[in-house]
Amino acid sequence: MLLKITNLHASIKGKEILKGIDLEVNKGEIHAIMGPNGTGKSTLASVIAGKDEFEVTEGEILYNAKNLMTLSVEERAREGIFLGFQYPVEIPGVSMTNFMRTAVNEIRKYRGLDPLSAGEFLKMMEEKKKLVEITSNLTNRSVNEGFSGGEKKRNEIFQMAMLEPTLAILDETDSGLDIDALRVVANGVNKLRTPENAFVVITHYQRLLEYIIPDFVHVLFEGRIVKSGGKELALELEEKGYDWIKQQH
């Protein structure tokens, strides 16, 4: 099992947001997490990634049988956890190339590999850009600086391709995208998918799941996973709306 979350409780500034989450993800699987705004989807992603604003008050997260709570944010990343941010931040003056080269080589170092030379790195970057269908010169620009919403999301997918994670969590990467951009994001996931990795796709809409076919769909509501099922659950949700969930709880 790649990820095993048991009875996870987390709070921020004393307010409990996650109220007992259980989730199991195996290699090769795609899980979708859906739910209304403000129910804790991003919080869950942040807690898995290790953001220290959030306090885990109960429960545990095992990743590759390791207790994630003992690992720093960067160690989790180097262990293969990737978070595609709902709101990617801008880092002025730092080129994407430099940023990614630093990241790739830090991760390689952690894994006992030599750093990539400038040439090897640029080659890799070109390949990955092709893979995720990025034609623009995103990589010459500063990290997310002045990027449109769509460019930011594509840039997250590009970074995911570069870092080749074992567990990728994509937080509403589809929000605000037109259909073309949506396809780029979905294709990225589908191309990067292997029997050795897993994806947790957080989405507000069923739309993305027409392109990324999930093995499991979970509904997160008020800090709990209140319903789990196969891909048909997404359709049911779309049809009945989140009020259906709200009425049941």
């Binding site: 960067e74 990343a77 990617p88 931040v89 990241a103 990290v143």
Partner: protein
């Protein structure tokens, strides 16, 4: 940056000052304290012509009438000027014609600093003048340069070999009456670099001076004079380090630049004097007067500085824009960490018509440090159609440090435009989290973000310096976040 800096940082994860070693070199000293006798001693050691001694003594007598300035946003502990050694020289043969004659210990020192004085092995295209304590020990490439008529030598040598040029220009930009530290320097200065680029010559290589304080209890008072004749061009770089000691050491330099008609001088500094320890013990007091004059029309002077060292920095590289259409630029990154204090900025004095100046200042404060920008833009009555653009940004790391901006603007005509912008920002938790989520640890993330923030200035540095400066920025901020 990137992986290079990461390697570099992991090598120095302790965050200790890398250049803090001290070399046992046979050194000769002037008697401690400052009197006319000290000045006569220095002048005699250097075998100076009469006019130099006269200049020194006049400066000394003027200095006696002055008090240390107190207007800067600095807390300067009292300095006992009688408890300083004003002249320390590595003992050596008086004339050095080849590298074999340089004290091997000294060569080793420069190797440790990553500066090779060996011309063969040198980075192509950089001529170095190396100054230890009070004396210039070796100037490389002088012969190559002399083919172009370029003079690049120690100040002492210039006094001997080119007294007329020295006499003509020394003190013409920074007179000894200018301020307390300039007067002190003019009285006791020991060595430094001299550079003259003849008419219409473009200096084919970067010139650089490397300053090193080695001996204890000594002050360093170097003096640099750069003269670019009509239509000449030169890019000059200056670097500095000092051993780690518990007591403070004084460094009071004067740099003068003269750019004649159509000439251009680029002056770059990476200042990394010992900053003191984490509790604020020791470190260099860096009180420096740097000024250039664009004497003729279309002249241009550009200052770029990366200031990471020193316990206290007091420094305002300035431009007097006398010639019509002349241009002055000041690009600065000043980093303060722990208990460091910096009060730095620039003065742009517009005198000629259509003169233009740019000031870009990036202050970065961490720890309990204090970092101030102080700038004066004065546009005189005759400087019609002149322009200044100033941008002063402050970046705060943590909440115990301070950033201050003191802009002074005086405009005496209506056709000129002065623009001033200032921002203060912090490295956000979200930026750090974003980097960390990509596998980059906090130290490296801060390094990346800070280098990105300072990019506008760093890109003005010559290549040879830019890489060094980037590493330095990251290292001087180690341990400041998280």
């Amino acid at each position: 940056m990137g992986s290079d800096s990461n390697n570099f940082i992991s090598e120095y994860t302790s965050g200790e000052y890398k250049y803090g070693f001290h070399t046992e070199i046979d050194t000769e000293f002037a008697p401690i304290g400052l009197t006319e006798e000290t000045i006569r001693y220095i002048s005699a050691r250097k075998n100076e012509p009469e006019f130099m001694l006269g200049y020194r003594l006049k400066a000394y007598r003027h200095w006696l009438t002055l008090k240390m300035p107190t207007w800067a946003h600095l807390e300067i502990p009292p300095i006992d000027f009688q408890d300083i050694i004003y002249y320390a020289a590595p003992k050596r043969k008086p004339e050095l014609s080849s590298l074999d004659e340089v004290d091997p210990e000294l060569l080793e020192t420069f190797n440790k600093l990553g500066i090779s004085l060996d011309e063969q092995k040198k980075l192509a295209g950089v001529a170095v003048d190396a100054v230890v304590d009070s004396v210039s020990v070796k100037t490389t490439f002088s012969e190559t340069l002399s083919k172009y008529g370029i003079i690049f030598c120690s100040f002492s040598e210039a006094v001997q070999k080119h007294p007329d040029l020295v006499k003509q220009y020394m003190g013409s930009v920074v007179p000894y009456t200018d301020n307390f530290f300039a007067a002190l320097n003019s009285a006791v200065f020991s060595d430094g670099s001299f550079c003259y680029i003849p008419k219409d010559v473009r200096c084919p290589i970067e010139l650089s001076t490397y300053f090193r304080i080695n001996a204890a209890n000594t002050g360093q008072f170097e003096r640099t004079l750069i003269v670019a004749d009509e239509g000449a061009y030169v890019s000059y770089m200056e670097g500095c380090t000092a051993p780690q000691r518990d007591e403070n050491q004084l460094h009071a330099a004067v740099v003068e630049i003269v750019a004649l008609k159509d000439a251009e001088v680029k002056y770059s500094t990476v200042q990394n004097w010992y900053p003191g320890d984490k509790e604020g013990r020791g470190g260099i007091f860096n009180f420096v007067t740097k000024r250039g004059i664009c004497k003729g029309s279309n002249a241009k002077i550009s200052w770029t500085q990366v200031e990471t060292g020193s316990a206290i920095t007091w420094k305002y590289p300035s431009c007097i824009l006398l010639g019509d259409n002349s241009v002055g630029e000041f690009y600065s990154v000043a980093v303060t960490n722990n208990h460091q204090q910096a009060d730095t900025g620039s003065k742009m004095l517009h005198v000629g018509r259509n003169t233009r100046s740019t000031i870009i200042s990036k202050g970065i404060s961490a720890g309990k440090s204090n970092n101030s920008y102080r700038g004066l833009v004065r546009i005189s009555k005759n400087a019609v159609n002149s322009r200044n653009y100033s941008q002063c940004d402050s970046l705060l790391l943590g909440d115990k440090c301070g950033a201050h901006t003191f802009p002074y603007i005086q405009t005496e005509n209506k056709s000129s435009i002065v623009e001033h912008e200032a921002t203060t920002s912090k490295i956000s938790e979200d930026q750090l989290f974003y980097c960390q989520q990509r596998g980059i640890d906090t130290e490296n993330a801060v390094g990346l973000i800070v280098n990105g923030y300072a990019k506008e200035v760093l890109k003005k540095l010559p290549m040879e310096f830019a890489v060094e400066a980037q590493k330095l920025l990251s290292i001087s901020l180690e341990g400041s976040v998280g």
